[in-house]
Subunit: 305 residues, 4 copies
Amino acid sequence: MLSLIDNPPPWPNGARCAVSFAYDFDAESLLHLYYPTDSARRLSLASTLRYGARVAIPRLAAIWRHFGIRQTVFTPGWCVEHYPEAIELLLEGGHEIGHHGWLHERVNQLSRGDEERVLEAGIRAIEKATGAPPVGYRCPSGAFSEHTLDLLIDYGLRYDASLGGHDIPYLVERSDGRAIVELPHDASHDDWNQYVHLKDANWQVPVAAPARARETFQADFDAAWNHGGLWTAVFHPFVSGRLARAEEQVRLIEYMMEKGDVWFATCAEIAAHIDGLVARGEWTPMVERLPFWPEPPEQVALPSR
Amino acid sequence: MLSLIDNPPPWPNGARCAVSFAYDFDAESLLHLYYPTDSARRLSLASTLRYGARVAIPRLAAIWRHFGIRQTVFTPGWCVEHYPEAIELLLEGGHEIGHHGWLHERVNQLSRGDEERVLEAGIRAIEKATGAPPVGYRCPSGAFSEHTLDLLIDYGLRYDASLGGHDIPYLVERSDGRAIVELPHDASHDDWNQYVHLKDANWQVPVAAPARARETFQADFDAAWNHGGLWTAVFHPFVSGRLARAEEQVRLIEYMMEKGDVWFATCAEIAAHIDGLVARGEWTPMVERLPFWPEPPEQVALPSR
Amino acid sequence: MLSLIDNPPPWPNGARCAVSFAYDFDAESLLHLYYPTDSARRLSLASTLRYGARVAIPRLAAIWRHFGIRQTVFTPGWCVEHYPEAIELLLEGGHEIGHHGWLHERVNQLSRGDEERVLEAGIRAIEKATGAPPVGYRCPSGAFSEHTLDLLIDYGLRYDASLGGHDIPYLVERSDGRAIVELPHDASHDDWNQYVHLKDANWQVPVAAPARARETFQADFDAAWNHGGLWTAVFHPFVSGRLARAEEQVRLIEYMMEKGDVWFATCAEIAAHIDGLVARGEWTPMVERLPFWPEPPEQVALPSR
Amino acid sequence: MLSLIDNPPPWPNGARCAVSFAYDFDAESLLHLYYPTDSARRLSLASTLRYGARVAIPRLAAIWRHFGIRQTVFTPGWCVEHYPEAIELLLEGGHEIGHHGWLHERVNQLSRGDEERVLEAGIRAIEKATGAPPVGYRCPSGAFSEHTLDLLIDYGLRYDASLGGHDIPYLVERSDGRAIVELPHDASHDDWNQYVHLKDANWQVPVAAPARARETFQADFDAAWNHGGLWTAVFHPFVSGRLARAEEQVRLIEYMMEKGDVWFATCAEIAAHIDGLVARGEWTPMVERLPFWPEPPEQVALPSR
């Protein structure tokens, strides 16, 4: 078969690809994000979001335990504080808790100072709950700012999982040459556009049957398996943890396991593996220097009518 | 198979799951909701909505009679008053009439006093038409307010079917500890996002083939059957009562019946069953205290650019 | 099989159902409707719409000739005047030209006087091109007004094909008891929501594969065939006349013909058949009196927050 | 089989159809188009768009080399300047670089003078990078203006690939009778509506599985093959170059090659072929004179309520 990834990283034990069901556990942080002054009277939305914490996390933890795999769950600090049982369950399963803001903030709408305060608040919450600061970050709402990388490096995070520049891990570096690992994904890895129908969040698509949504996810997995890539989801407990979708996820994991030669790992483990390869000079990743466009380009012509 | 519901309730006669085709019979209440001052000149929309009352309800009643099953139909008081033949037909079939507002009001946009007036108006209309007040409520447009539970309890309703916090019934309680049964659903149980294309309602998705939409509905049913859940639809007569979709519903019911061990029941019966289990100490449900967030959380940072 | 239409009309020669591929031939009337002062600089949109007149109509006419069937094509008077070759081709094939406004006007946004002027302009154009006034009307954009039926009756039209109140023909009558035949359809018969992706018309859905869209159309046909209904499309030449979709339509017609006992007819023939049945007392249709709601209902409560 | 194209052009070597995977390589030009003053803080969107230049173009070039086919890649001048390696790779593969504006401008929002400046800037960039001016143009965002054809002819371009007036090439001529070849397409040839989900670009559809999207593309190809048409895609490297979609494209090309009798060519080659046929009088194309509607038509009635 024609190889479609030029320079895939070597995966542990000769695995064909790496897989990390990286979840974003948002709970009602989304409610407060969409309705910062008006969340109190949106109980339907709240109940649907709480499902993630109260029903889906225990269910998913049971599935992962059944298969003996560990995952990364990115979650806002506010969720860490308000859903300690869910966090405890995840920690018992050996899962990684990643940083996902304080209250799901879109940090590119904040000043640099405010973005820093949000980052600190999330770190503190995770540190308090888990005993250690987070290793990785996923930017809520894809709102990675021109300051984000700089702050992640300053605060000692080791990887980011927010961007979409490749099918395999790469490095994002800042102007001084310091870099962290990027674990990229695409909208095709996201359960939101397949399943989410929330009037209050102004999000209305036809809800896909689980077997149909799986076609999109599995095509990416198969391609990663064929060509040595990384498959990392952007799933949400309140979405993919619903009963029929959790069943379908069981089938997807079974499919992956039957195919074999898959490295199931947390994002932190994948990032550490990449760090090691690079440190030992065993693999040379793509490097992207951020921010890409500090100034907008000069335009030849702007709309005039 | 890995069990995906931790603590499913025991269903009557050892049934694997409970099924209630809970319909929202809205007729032109939606027209008046969307166009409170301007409904008179929207005859295309009106004719499509009236189809629910004049064509779909008799058709669905015939289907349910054919299979010997009874359903719950939530309907605004205004519809009860304006479509007495449809209500009569439903009562003859032994179906339950549930409360669905007076004119499909989004009650979380009302003051508490107005929400109460709406609740009273709906109760009066149902009581007059059926001889008894309604036992259950489904909040129109998912607009469950911070006062809704309080009012439902004060007015003696026994269950709500508006929220989405679990895959099985649970209890919603208020600050004094009094609770009613919640029969939850998800957007995946709703026919609206599969089928509805109404320019005047600003709702435009590709219209799914009935066999495709059924994939979404049936996946939820299969999962409920596998794990002891509750399958309760949010169907609309003017939507799922259209000819080809009604045919597909016949096939879905046949599928359910061939699978067997399904408890077909009204929402009131399901709620009463749950009440009984709890009263006899035979089953302990999840309990959610409402409202969830009387005050919005303090924010670390708000959008500033 | 359980019968799902209570009182289907008898169709000629014992046919199981009636089929009319009723097209809306809009050409650039849509361009001028969306951009009344700004159409000149939208050449991409214009070229796509012109395809309907220059490529699709000849193609569709060839398909219908091949199968020996005749259709109804609703078209604005402006199109009749500007695309005389297309109209000539349709007339040669024995197809019916129905009224579709002057320039695709949304008549419920007009005064009664303006709606009348639009109706007259369309009639004049069709009369001039075909030698006879139109027999039927389909309201552009589903904008049937509170005056439309009154005007249609005053101007001698015999049927309308705009509303959605049943799966079989019915009568719409005005206050004096005079009525015309309604040939109803639903969004599930419309090719727009399956295929149309027009940035300039603010209409963006994923473009369905023709075989997928056919699933939606064919499910309605199968149901009409099973239960004695009417299948009447809302197709557009620039949409369903595109090459691959026209191929799929050939397959759909072949499917219908192989199934057999289908009455292919123009809308005018179907309406005349219904008129005859009613006049001879051989069948009693549903009757809807228009307008439905001259005044909006009194509300218990209006949004206050 | 019933022929559905009246007068298809003869293709070289008796091919059944012509195929050109005509890509729009936009990279971050879209970012700057959507956010002309605000692109700096949108790094998620930027990283996804850069994927087109850094990962997808090399991958696609490898696929095309593998199959021994050449394509046309339309690209803004800004991209030509900022991604010289990608352009070099395309030139090495013998691919054509087509004009796609300077920074993806919607030229029908510009004055004629500004549109001309944009055209010149794009020509200069391509001339500098490739040694020759571009032969063909595809208008960004379907914003072909009333001046576009005039300018294309004045600047010596030989074909346009922006409009949608037929399934086969045709001529677009201006008032003095001078004409260029039009290579038309439809939204059904566009990967955007199948796959693109970009919050920052206000574009949110469910992401199709590659095998599903291929159904739409392949139906058009099959129809072109059956009837002698032209199949020309509107694909984007950052979209269709993603791993699983690139795999699916490999399968689509294999399918086309197995079917056989397909002329794979660049748009420039197809346009030259058409030019030759016309010059030698071997084929008579459809001719469209632009602009279509210099003045909007007089309206019978405009919205008044």
